[in-house]
Amino acid sequence: MDRFEPKIIGFLCNWCSYEGADAAGKSRRKYPANLRVIRVMCSGRIDPQFVMEAFRVGADGVVILGCHPGDCHYKEGNYKALKRYHLLQKTLAQLGIEKERCTLNWIAASEGEKFAEIVKEMVKKVKQLGPIDNSE
């Protein structure tokens, strides 16, 4: 019996969150291999279309990770991400994509453990939701 292994796309900002993910690796913290990381320079670079395209091509979940508020390498990019994220979640819900499938979190460069926990949580949650259905 096939067990569903969700495909999670992660958009990580180059500065804090990517470093944080690296920190998880350096301290040999295990986290599920379901995550595919796409590095962007800033979470504010994330166009809602990226998230939609990820779901269209078969991602079952999307995580967006950026610097903590106040720590953005470009000052306010993460606030842009935060604003777009909330409006995007509401819009995606109307398109039948559950809110839990797209999450936003702040990861500092040292927070390897938090990064691993976020990925584990996401995989667990999306396993419960099941695969995304793109049939027409």
């Binding site: 166009d47 809602p48 279309q49 939609m52 395209e53 779901f55 269209r56 508020p69 306010e76 606030y79 842009k80 935060l82 604003k83 777009r84 909330h86 409006l87 995007l88 509401k90 819009t91 109307q94 398109l95 039948g96 994509i97 559950e98 995304i132 259905d133 793109n134 049939s135 027409e136």
Partner: protein, 323 residues
């Protein structure tokens, strides 16, 4: 020399695009002097078999309006594609899916249930719903298949050009017709309207401040909008920034915000997503609770941002299994 043949056909449409052609007024006389109309269901009595009998490419240009919602529409769109040199997607529905595209929030079962059973004014005790094949008196009657998903014209056939608008304004139609007759068309796939957003042409653009911040989203029906100031700046959702220009800002002149019928600019696939990004970016707060309040005050983001463009968007429709 024989005049070129043209065809006009309607799919899932309201008929407004046919009226837009009539809105050419006296210019219509010039058009019919220059071309022969071989198919136009709203106006002339040609039959499908006349169309089937034509040679491939016999029609110089077909103008197809309306979205694809029935198998009949898909069939005729394919037939017209074979018989035509050029196919022009005419109007928002053919271009982007249009208003009929909003049906992509539901599927056939939900739509039929609502229309044939649940609507309060319906008296349908036998729960009759349209079926594809019905046998009556030993004969078989067929209805076209009603698809779950509304599609744009380019999602079923190869489209050469797009004339945007709901409906396309008469001057844009005339420009396109003239360009065709004079063989002055841009590269294939172009949208036959300017390559800038409505903001560039807006009569209110001089009133726009350097930076726009939205403190509060206000609904156009609940306020009396200032007729001289930018809508966005008044907190009213106006899709101008994410919408192609070329309409003459007719809605703005009528003190109504842009609804996005001309579709996105070049290199943008998903008009709603692009607008979502623009709108959220200018919320006048960095506080998460305040952001959530702003988002809550937007009643129907998907319907508003994708009012004309849902079938053409990246996700195309609401996930079916979640209905």
């Amino acid at each position: 020399m024989a005049k070129p043949n043209i065809a006009l056909y309607w799919c899932a449409s309201c008929g407004g695009c046919e009226e837009a052609v009539l809105d050419l007024n006296e210019n219509l006389l010039k058009v019919v002097e220059a071309v022969d109309i071989v198919l136009w269901p709203v106006a002339f009595d040609f039959k499908y078999k006349d169309l089937e009998a034509m040679k491939d490419g016999e029609i110089a240009v077909s103008f197809i309006n309306g979205a694809i919602r029935l198998s009949e529409q898909e069939r005729i769109a394919n037939l017209l594609r074979r018989k035509s040199g050029l196919v022009i997607a005419f109007g928002s529905c053919a271009h982007l899916g249009g208003i009929p595209g909003l049906a992509n929030f539901w599927d056939r079962e939900a739509i039929f249930n609502r229309i044939y059973k649940e609507v309060p004014t319906i008296d349908n005790q036998e729960c009759n719903i349209p079926k594809e094949i019905v046998k009556i008196d030993g004969k078989e009657l067929a209805l076209p298949v009603f698809y779950d998903t509304v599609k744009t014209l380019s999602q079923v056939i190869d489209v050469d050009y797009y004339l945007p608008g709901c409906p396309p304004p008469p001057d844009l139609i005339l420009q396109a017709l003239t360009a065709i007759l004079e063989d002055r068309l841009p590269p294939k796939g172009a949208v036959l309207a300017p390559a800038q957003s409505l903001c560039g042409d807006c009569p209110r653009k001089d009133s726009k401040p350097e930076v726009i911040h939205i403190k509060e989203i206000r609904r156009i029906s609940k306020i009396i909008a200032d007729p001289d100031r930018c809508f966005f700046e008044q907190g009213v959702i106006c899709l101008g920034p994410a919408t192609r220009s070329g309409c003459g800002a007719r809605c703005i002149e009528a003190n109504m915000p842009c609804r996005g019928c001309f579709g996105p600019l070049d290199n943008v696939v998903d008009q709603g997503g692009k607008f979502l990004s623009a709108l959220a970016s200018i919320f006048d707060t960095n506080d998460e609770e305040e952001i959530k309040k702003r988002v809550d005050s937007i009643i129907d983001p998907a319907g508003t941002f994708y009012r004309f463009s849902l079938p053409s968007s990246i996700l195309r429709r609401r996930r079916i299994s979640n209905n």
